[in-house]
Symmetry: C2
Subunit: 649 residues, 2 copies
């Protein structure tokens, strides 16, 4: 990848002596803004912002970007991984024309302002929300990979702190970047050698350079406050076969004598005036800048925050063709139905030149049934190894590039291990579809470490994430096709076992060609007036068996399959409650899943009925699926016998 012409022109211009002088002047203006905004807010992170600002200003002076069109597709991207340097990030954007400086300074960290404490993508020019450390390099990998696949000649820059190099996820991202030869990715470490508790060497010794070299990166060491060195490193990194780390030796608090090399200023702001002279007034004097602090205070006082209307931006759906339902008449596993639907949808959308789908895998393609897709569309299949933290963030960033992006994994790895990465993705409004196989105690012999019985509880802990739970292969196919064009974050959990096809009492296929999946709709599988049972996912077949067993005792069980437990139609709950008994039946932690969703709705409707929840009450055991259900009192015989006891007293 040779250096492109636009970059070269900018580089040649900015390195002219008079322009370097102008950049130096901009750096002084930036330091001034950083100190004012943090002092004004009385909170924030000035030390690291002063240490990282020269890198940011140098970058904006040469990269491809347009403040009037921050989301233009062929822009270079900057990811701020150490999100607490938001003062530096916002200031650099402002000085580059993205928004008015004094307004930003005055609103920083005010409730209702876009200028939040850690960088947020609601600010024009911010590509990725961070604040939880160690995730930015993975997001950068996602952006860089998407650019490569699309053939864009753009570069992605990731700025990181030095303390966060301790996070394991960064080692995963390093490997991924090497494997996929992301030479359109350049990372900076703002290496000021201080973290909150003292020097990095005393907190956790680490040879950052050796680690990146071990993972086959190019490493350039520079003085991170020497603008010409920074620019030369940026240039060098754009013309290299492997990803580049620019290890930028910097100084915490750089530019203000009494702040330099003191970790105190990581998260402490300058008072306006202090007796010891360590204050904003002195700092402004040292920078030779006027003091308009009182004016800014007035501006700040004028800002009015509203109350939160709690909006969630729903991005438009993707132009993905869903294809036609595959009808299953024979017992099979939901995971195979997912894999088949994926390949079928891909066939409908493959133009030969571009396929708007992507699949990320963590070494489980065979089990999670994405191997078929891998064989046919290897260029859209990303083998990411046993590196789930990285993969979720990387796939999340990638998903914003117009690909319908799937990450398929076992339940415990795909949500339990990666919950916080999913949460950050959700905050970033990503478009990721998590397809989990091997959830529930249905997993069987692999035992408790592998039995994910909290997937719904985890999704309910996030705000814009939805869980869609298929009951059989036919419903799986419908749900995957419904999802195919949807934007947003969804989780589709499945068990491992082969399942019978769900049928009507008359023997017709329930989720056949005519079924239409609708978010929030529960399905009445069996009608009955003695009691009602709500079920989801793998256990749906067993619920029908329970209905059959109860029928023999003249108990007519109403059976509802709930595939979207986060939203249950109140009319359905009323209809069920009218029987006088409601039961829930789930291959999930009994406290945080289907029963809990239903309890919320019952209370909401002020309905008092006899209620019992059948679900998982402790870490399960290892054994074949049916034996484990039996061991955990969840086999149809035990449940139906308990129901009989309750109803017949």
């Amino acid at each position: 990848m040779p250096i492109n012409t636009a970059f070269k022109l900018k580089y040649d211009s900015i390195t002219l002596p008079e322009n370097i002088l102008a950049l130096k002047a901009q750096a002084i203006a930036a330091r001034t803004a950083i100190l004012k905004m943090t002092s004004l807010a009385g909170s924030g992170h000035p030390g690291g912002s002063l240490s990282t600002i020269d890198l940011l200003l140098s970058l904006y002076s040469v990269i491809e970007h347009d403040p009037r069109n921050p989301s233009k597709p062929d822009r270079d991207k900057i990811v701020i991984s150490h999100g607490h340097v938001s003062p530096a990030a916002y200031t650099a954007l402002s000085l580059n024309g993205y928004f008015e400086l004094n307004q930003m300074i005055s609103e920083f960290r005010l409730a209702g302002s876009i200028y939040e404490g850690h960088v947020e993508p609601c600010v024009p020019g911010i590509e990725w929300a961070s604040g939880n450390l160690g995730q930015g390099l993975s997001a950068g990998c996602g952006f860089a990979l998407a650019n490569k696949i699309k053939g864009y000649d753009n570069h992605v820059y990731v700025l990181m702190g030095d303390g966060e190099q301790q996070k394991g996820q960064i080692s995963e991202a390093r490997r991924f970047a090497s494997k996929f030869q992301l030479n359109n990715l350049t990372a900076f470490v703002d290496y000021n050698k201080l973290q909150i508790s003292g020097t990095c060497d005393s907190v956790m010794p680490q040879d950052i350079k050796a680690e990146f070299l071990a993972d086959k990166w190019q490493v350039l060491e520079i003085d991170g406050h020497d603008l010409l060195q920074i620019l030369a490193a940026i240039k060098s990194s754009r013309n290299n076969a492997v990803p580049t780390l620019i290890l930028a030796h910097t100084v915490m608090g750089k530019g203000i004598s009494f702040m330099e090399n003191d970790e105190k200023w990581h998260g402490q702001t300058l008072p306006y005036k202090a007796e010891n002279g360590c204050d904003l007034v002195s700092a402004l004097a040292e920078l030779n800048q006027p003091d308009d602090f009182l004016h800014l205070q007035e501006l700040r006082a004028k800002f009015t925050s509203g109350k939160c209307s709690l909006p969630h931006t729903t991005n438009p759906d993707l132009p993905v063709i869903s294809g036609k339902h595959i009808n299953y008449e024979q017992k099979t596993d939901n995971r195979s139905a997912w894999g088949n639907a994926l390949v079928d949808i891909a066939e409908h959308n493959n133009t030969g030149e571009f396929l708007p789908l992507a699949v990320f895998d963590c070494d489980l393609a065979g089990s999670v049934k994405t191997a078929g897709f891998r064989e046919k569309y290897p260029q859209n299949f990303f083998q990411s190894g046993i590196m789930e933290h990285h993969t979720v963030t990387c796939a999340g960033a990638f998903s914003q590039a117009g690909f319908q992006t799937f990450f398929s994994d076992f339940g415990v790895f795909g949500i339990d291990e990666t919950y916080n990465q999913q949460r950050l993705n959700d905050i970033n409004d990503t478009n990721l579809k998590i397809i989990l196989t091997h959830v529930g105690i249905d997993v069987g012999e692999d035992g408790k470490t592998h039995q994910c019985v909290d997937y719904l509880g985890q999704v309910r802990n996030m705000f814009n994430f939805k869980c869609l739970i298929p009951a059989d292969p036919n419903q799986t196919d419908h749900i995957i096709r419904w999802l195919a064009a949807k934007n947003g974050n969804y989780l589709v959990p499945m068990g491992r076992s082969k399942l019978d096809i769900i049928r009507t009492p008359e023997g017709d296929i329930f989720y056949g060609d005519d079924y239409v999946f609708e978010y929030g709709k529960a399905d009445l599988l069996r009608d009955g007036d003695t009691a009602a049972l709500f079920v989801m996912g793998t256990l749906t077949n067993k619920a029908l068996k329970i209905a059959g067993l109860l029928k023999q005792q003249n108990i007519n069980l109403q059976v509802w399959n709930v595939s979207t437990p986060q939203q249950i139609n109140p009319e359905v709950v009323k209809q069920a409650a009218a029987t006088g008994y409601i039961f829930t039946y789930e291959d999930h932690n009994v406290h945080t899943g289907l029963a809990s969703c239903l309890q919320a709705e019952l209370v909401n409707l002020q309905l008092a009925v006899k209620f019992k929840a059948f679900g998982v009450q402790n870490y399960p055991v290892s054994g074949n699926s049916d034996a484990v259900y039996q061991y955990c009192w969840l086999d149809p015989e035990t449940v139906s016998s308990e129901i009989i006891d309750i109803i017949k007293g």
Copy 2:
């Protein structure tokens, strides 16, 4: 640390030619058992077990251990990180006298048997449950660190797979081991160069040796099937200044010609007889071992599984003196009360020679208020850097060594980022106290990435973890002292702000000297008969403000502080329901916290009342705590006005 005499005697003996021959014979018996048990179960992981078994047998031949007393305190410990090689682990234990071989073989992976699919500590000799990859080295660090602190001259061995080296947590553990000079720790990588999807090189290229060297480990490369080389490496690793990695080049499926170097056998078992000859019969013939498969099948058929009585082993409490309550009369933050209680408890328990307390920190001691403990007891304070995944696992393992172990961190890092590590700890019956500061939107300016509003939802997703939520500094002090001697896993979340002291209507301190914390007891802060409000944690003060505002409208609000929402006394719920209105008020996701706990109890009691939950409904914003509450409709004025609307229609 010179090699101890017991080890040297064993080493000198086992390396005699006749004893090496016996060890080789044992390895053949072990391979036979591994193949039989996996074929019998029809599931499990024979390939890796055959690759790792020579390492295990060599280890047991020289380490300090006693099959008649598997938990003797001065034993060497073996942690199996790649838990799927349970057939190798169980077989090695069995051949070393821990339990009867054929019984183990016949019960493998049967529901109700201790011989679970992935290694579990209910099996004598197994130190740590694994199965989710990448955590074992962290557990080994915890054990090794505890041995060092206690002055034990014992060694900890961690066996890992090669694929799992891709997990970032391992890089964190490597750094920790180096920092704390854990030369009593030796790690093995079973380097057969194959993982599920193919060669490690094709899945995710990695230079394992370079990575360990970058983190200052000693690396020994050996043939992992050459017993003398293995033994020599073990010996060498016991006499070294830094931790040692033994990179053992091995062969997947080693010992059976048709299984060697084929990744298919990672998770696939040999059929008894197959047309192509790739079967158990051929394998036994190659090993020159008799075929008693049918006999074993009969044994297996005789095993009867019960149903799960869902017991949870409660370990005895620790001999820790709780000390005397510190009474706070002035507004302060709960985190300071936690830090003060910690130091005070330490003072009561410090014998000068031994302090049965430990604190782990991830670079936030100043904010989470453990800095006071750090200053006074640096030898019991472990600075673990920004490496939360590692730290939770390491502290979990460490907590089993008789120390009351605290890990204090911000909410999002201490539970959201590390949920799966906590879950594995819970499965391992650890004894870890997670003290979270900076939970809720009370965190304020740091914004949504830092506002942990799901801590209770996360704890409810686990089975033996309890959440204790203090309302003010006085209750914080009581709760920390109550915890001081308790065994098990607890999470204590706190906000960031200074809080008023909660008082009775008469102005007396509510959580004063006479208060006794009791698990499951809710506290009636204000009596009233118009409506009832349940609150927890940071918002308790604001709930009292609401009661005051409502009083002006002649609404008498019953206010309950619930510090243990996972268990709410039914009598309390009845008393509240008798008012006709129940409200919940929480600085937490409204779907998964206090409201949800109460809804479960209301449904359970079949109580229909007017109910409204006030809580967090979307990712919050950045701003000062009170402004964010207001922005999210959770300030006392908004809530009381909504309550008035509901009650007065």
